[in-house]
Structures are given as structure tokens and as C-alpha cells.
Amino acid sequence: MIREISTAEIIKVVRDLSIDANYNLGDDVLSAFKEAIEREDSAPAREVLKQLIENAKIAREEKVPICQDCGLAVVFMEIGQDVHIISGDLNEAINDGVRQGYREGYLRKSACHPFTRENTGDNTPAILHLQIVPGDKIRIIFAPKGGGSENMSRVDMLTPAAGIEGVKDFVVKCVSESGANPCPPTIVGVGVGGTFERSAILAKKALLRNIGDRNPDPELAEIEEEILKRINRLGIGPMGYGGNLTSLAVFLEVEPCHIASLPVAVNIQCHAARHKEAVI
């Protein structure tokens, strides 16, 4: 049976998600801050974590953005193959939702022309990742992505000889070199395999997990744990002021790649790790 879903419904969901994601920090991140305070002995690091907990509270209560960087509008969409979208263009609907959400939610519009730097004025176009899946529903995940941490993200095409150790070293090197820039404590999304662009999308997708979620493959979960331990020995700490907590989580996603390649992408997410989802 084909199920009809109208673009009007999609626009409303995207609008609401964009505001919700920017005002309400996830409980997983908030709990991680609270636990981290116990583990930090550096005074500036503890002060940062205290401010972040207070900040999330203010944002939630006063309905204002957690961070002034309300990001580019990254949207992951899983469309059931039995869905028929009616009354308009899907891409336009997503952009309309972003337009409305960023205007009505008093969110900052950060999209601009890469050369002239002229702001597009409404935070469009959205960065849309579409996937067709079985079923008759649409799942929309809205994940605004700030520029500071995105700028510290990297892709490298390692040689197969570099192996798992090469991947681990690359991730730790990326975090080490990024220092205080991406607003630590960060979340580190790692995509390994696929092609050049696939690895980057895997890394971004990894960031949609909640803190505490492990890769279901125990071997990969162990690698996540090991990389996280190494990162937290770097000493960068909250906001780079020195401390035991540089990253809150490492999320690793792995897919087969070419026999000649070992693509690895590291997508760094600041502590304002925002993602909200809805199912239509």
C-alpha cells in the first residue's frame, strides 16, 4: 500500500526539529557533563563544565539557542519505499522548514557563498542525506553542525598497510592538532571504509548516536574505547584549559572499501552536540 505524505507535514516537522535541536541539549550530553565534573580536578575545567550545565538550563528555560552557532542545517532522511510525497518538491520542503525554523526560532543564519561570503539570508540550502528504506514512514534527523568543530575535521586515504593502528593514530592526531579550537569536550565521529566521500558521510552519521551507545560489533566497540582513552590522555581538557576530559565519546562506523584503499574520516563535534529526530 502506498502511503501519501504531504510536503506541508515535512515542512512543519523540519521547522520544529530545527528549533528543538538548537534550544534543547540532549540529556545524554548533559549527564556526561555532570559525570565529568566529578572526574576533573582542574579548576578552569570544572568551571567550564559548570557553565555548560548552566547554559543548557538557561537555553531550555528561556527558549534560546544553546550556542550562537546554530550550524548549517544537516538533515538525514530515511524515506520508506512505500511513501508517496505529494503537494510539492521534497527538497524545497526541507529548505522551507529550515527557512521557517531559523527565522521563527531566532536562530543564526550561517550559510554563505564560499567566495563572496555573502550570507544566503535564511540558512539554506540544507545539507540533505537521503536514504530509501523499506516501509511507509519517513524518519527525519535534524543535526545542526557548527563551523568551529567542522573546520577541525579531516579525511585521509591511508594505505591498507597502515591498518587499524594507522586509523587509531590518525584519529588521535586529528584531535591532538585541533587542540582547543573545536570546543572540547568533543564527540569524535570516525568513518572507515567505503570511498572518499562515503567515509565522510559515515563519520557524520556516527555523530547521530547518543553518548553511551557503543558500536554493536564488540571488536569495533573496543577500538572506540581505546581511541577515547588515548584522546583523554592528551590533556587538552574542557575548552583546552587542561584536563582529563578532551572527548566524551568516539563513535566508529566501518564499511568495506576498495582493495587498494583505507579511507578514514574524522568528523569532530563540539560539546553542543545537537540532533533531534521525528518519524512521520
Binding site: V64, C70, R108, I236
Partner: protein, 190 residues
Amino acid sequence: MSKQIRLRTPLSTEDAENLTSGDKVLLNGILLTGRDAAHRRLFELIKEGRELPIDIKGQVIYYVGPTPAKPGKPIGSAGPTTSYRMDPYSPKLIELGLKGMIGKGSRSQGVIEAMKRFKAVYFGATGGAGALLAKRIKKAEIIAYADLGPEAIRMLEVEDFPVIVINDTKGNDLYQEGIGRYAKADEADY
């Protein structure tokens, strides 16, 4: 040992020299805002030998692009942006009398040298704490480049705006000191 200091802007050379990396500072008075596009424009004017739309002597520039203010509020969320993008422009502004910068993330050697030579400091504010920091901003007014939207130059009136000294006039760097204190040997290196 780091201390907590309450300071009023504009800052004097002596104010700057009295600060040490790690000091917690509560800033009061006026802050100017500016980020990528505004810095680019100011720099162009300096290169052409023309007058700047703002007097930067003794001032503190806050690298911020706030969200739009909700009705009845002076400003939207207003946390710091990453500072290194302003590095190509900062030494010249410091030479012209800029005394402080507020942002997040490390600065280039060129900026650090200029801070030592012309006596200026770099403060860190908590990135991602835009809602909290906005509460310390009592007034905001666009004073130049309104067409830049969030990147326009604003004059902010702040009360007890919380920052920490990252780089002082003596060449100390809180980021380096922090890593020095907390980095642990990586077993994988052995």
C-alpha cells in the same frame, strides 16, 4: 597562582601587564565585536591608509556572531567563535592599540609576538555557552557594517563578563600549560 580580577574597559598597558595566563577575569564596560568579514574590511582600510569606523585604542574585541535578539532582549546567544581565523589581521590591530581579544582556540606565533611587543592579552570565553554569556551583555548596538548581519561590528555593554587569560604579555600560554600539566604518556608509544 591564578587569581580573579574585575576589570573595566578600555584597558591600559598596565592593566594588560598585570594579567597572567590562567587568571579569571570579569570584564565590565564596553566590548567591540568583530569576526571574519569585519576583520577583513578593517584590514583593507588599514592597508589603504584610511580611517577606521571604530577607534580601537585600549579596546577589547570579542570574536562573536550572535543569534538575532528575541523581542525585549538586547542580544541573542553570544558565545565566542574560533580565533585563529582572525590571526592574519590581529597583529596590525594590536600595533594600532588593541589591548584585548576574546575568543576560543590557539593563536599564531605572530599574534603571540605582537601581544608581547605591544602589550595586549588574549582571553578565552567558554565556547558553546552562548545563552549564559548573553546574560552578561546589557546593551548591544551595531556601530559599523550593518550589512554583515551577525558579523556586523557591535558595541556591547557588559557586566562581569567571565573570561580567562590564555596568552599574557609575557608569552605564557594557558593551552600549553594545561597540556603540560595533564598530558599522560600514551602506552601505544612504548
